[in-house]
Subunit: 465 residues, 2 copies
Amino acid sequence: MVHEASMRILEEVGIEFRYDEAVDIWRTAGAEVEGTRVRIDRELLLGLVGQAPAQFTLNARNPAHSVQIGGRHMALSPNSGSPFFLDRDGTRRYATRADNIECIKLSHQLSPINIAGGFHCEATDVDIAHRHLAYYADSMRYTDKISIGSCQGAGQAQDTIDMAKIVHGADFVENNAVITGFMNGNSPLVWDESMLSAAIVYARAGQPVYYSPFALAGANTPASTIGGIAQLNAEALAGCAFSQAINPGSPTIYGMFLMIVDMRTGSPMTGTPDLAHMLLMAGQLARFYGLPVRSVGMHTGSKNLDAQAGYEANMNMHAAVLGGINLITHCGGWTEHGLTCNLAKYCTDSDIAEGWIRYARGPRLDDFAEAMEAVREVGPAGHYLGAAHTIANYTTAFHMPALMDQTSFEQWEEAGSKDTATLGFERADALLAGYEKPPIDDETETELLDFVARRMSEISAEDMT
Amino acid sequence: MVHEASMRILEEVGIEFRYDEAVDIWRTAGAEVEGTRVRIDRELLLGLVGQAPAQFTLNARNPAHSVQIGGRHMALSPNSGSPFFLDRDGTRRYATRADNIECIKLSHQLSPINIAGGFHCEATDVDIAHRHLAYYADSMRYTDKISIGSCQGAGQAQDTIDMAKIVHGADFVENNAVITGFMNGNSPLVWDESMLSAAIVYARAGQPVYYSPFALAGANTPASTIGGIAQLNAEALAGCAFSQAINPGSPTIYGMFLMIVDMRTGSPMTGTPDLAHMLLMAGQLARFYGLPVRSVGMHTGSKNLDAQAGYEANMNMHAAVLGGINLITHCGGWTEHGLTCNLAKYCTDSDIAEGWIRYARGPRLDDFAEAMEAVREVGPAGHYLGAAHTIANYTTAFHMPALMDQTSFEQWEEAGSKDTATLGFERADALLAGYEKPPIDDETETELLDFVARRMSEISAEDMT
């Protein structure tokens, strides 16, 4: 029903691709084009979408950190793009490049986080035209996990890919996915020049982006979960098909950035049951089309790390995990609907994410017979702490989240009555203090820094003319 | 596999029923009895279990608050049994009868809560031998929703049922379920006199209790989720079968009280992935046996209402809801693994529980065609806030939790930077200030209070002899 409705939207209403080159690509592909309005019939659309790989490898600088995107795989990424940063004392202020480097270093060390590089928060102390250079160079220097690339405009995209070639080698980048980025759609039914011009650069370079309508359901979608999904599905599919019209067979990702409008105030909302339904539907649809799927994870509207943050984060996360989302973004640090980057929440989200990864793997079954032997050994009224099976499985039987405090009230009080935020910041500080820079070839690092310096000066010169 | 293992446990290892009358009941039913060890073969066990209704009505004093227990129904109950109470200023102190009455009045007004009466927290200012009288009389006076009944020992159970007869009428109670209570098993494989003597009174009166092994998995079960479930399944089934041996066809509930031991400290843990797996398995097993199932909901080990509380509560809750648990207990107020009763968390849990109820009902589908008309009406680059479909569905399209703050940072700061705990306590105070006692017949109330006074004085006299 949703598929049929989405097809009719694209065939009859059409979708705006507000960029000349994009319109040309669609015209050449065979779509019906009228100004910037593109109408795509289902044969053309599904023919294009069917050329995208259902699964691909996203390569990290350190191959041990490469991940599969698609199929039954799940990869996680943390916060991105916050203009504000929360200080340890609770002060909210504009974020800086140094803050973003802290986020990279922290994510580098948090095991559930697969994508550690990128723009966790805005480097507001760097010229806006230079930021993408700082983000990617810092990412490549301070982590050997995967990085998100900048993708607002062709220039940012090209610089990022040029830097990726310095780090990974031009040949490797030409034949392998080493970076990903977001295409945020302007729902309803618009893709704009800023995104499309970058999308073209990424697709030509064989690098995947996630085409994610940026939903504030009820404001830019119908006031209906399923109606909203039908529209967003049309938007995401049109994006994925576009990537195939540019470069058939290149990797692409079906994306959803899902929030709902609070009809009382116009504010965004997250962590609600309707959003969970939408996440589950998004996963089903992507599988129906054979596309890898990205959606959001531990979102919250809370300004700090109170119960709201935990309730909302886990309401979304359960749906993302059970929805089979392949790339779950914002699984660390996200507060205030993304406006504020919170280091404590990187650590607590990561602690909880470890649990979700374990959950997704399902319970262990292979030691069932031994566990049943333990029941016979212990018998009624006994205890299992000394049983052979317990001793053999002591450390692995149950997940024990490190930052969720289970001590007695008296122990907790004596240790300073620390709440989740306090424990999270302590953990962040301990990790940052113990951070070790992963090895990077001197020559590569120099070349990368030279590139950044040269491009920054070129961009400044362009600005002045 | 789990079923087979549980059958073999009950047939070969057996289970302790440490109460003479219970052992006699099993002997008469045809089990193999040796002292207090009862071995129950699967034919006997399943024959008994098969007589229990898969679904029954649990009647409230006000029929509008009656609920179905079993099938595809879900009922919620809040906190129970906390010795401590959290004051508005964050002080933790012993709970009193007045605190418990506050909890009853609050639960009376929280719409997701079906079971408002009972012993939310301990009335430590009341003689321990008198408490059950206070709990049930206060419950019947301050709410017309369902109440949990006391069930530690035959005396408590009989007094509670006698009071229920005053309120509901003896005839009604003889033919209908009006109360429920817990049987906490002493895992591994022991049911004790305190529970069994009460269970016999409840079962003879046709009143259901939930037979819930009290699991601290890894300490009183094998260090294995599935191994743990096999043992707990045997215990819960033996309890349910016992109820049918006493009174065939009487309502009974398959229960699970699930926590896991933190192997590092010996503390209980909750909100972990393994616990979620166990909850999902518990639901499957109960359906396999055709029994209504009870398990736990918004548990947390946190001492306050920080992110840990939210993360853990919703990790458990998603599994209880998706596990098809019919009676989810501790969906309000539970902190510090039940040791502390927190009024703010009653309100925030309830806010979130409203969302889970909506989630369980699934998305609305009937207005899909109209929503698709809205897409055509609005078209690319429009917005939906003024669309006819939006206006018609404005208030119902999306769940908007009342206590999850979605305001801007500036609005939030101006309103006093309130966290979840502050908002929860404010809501609790507002509800308590607006509380109205539901109507109760004067004669009934007098008779109830007279009963309490008489039994308190009789019990005191017994104590002195």
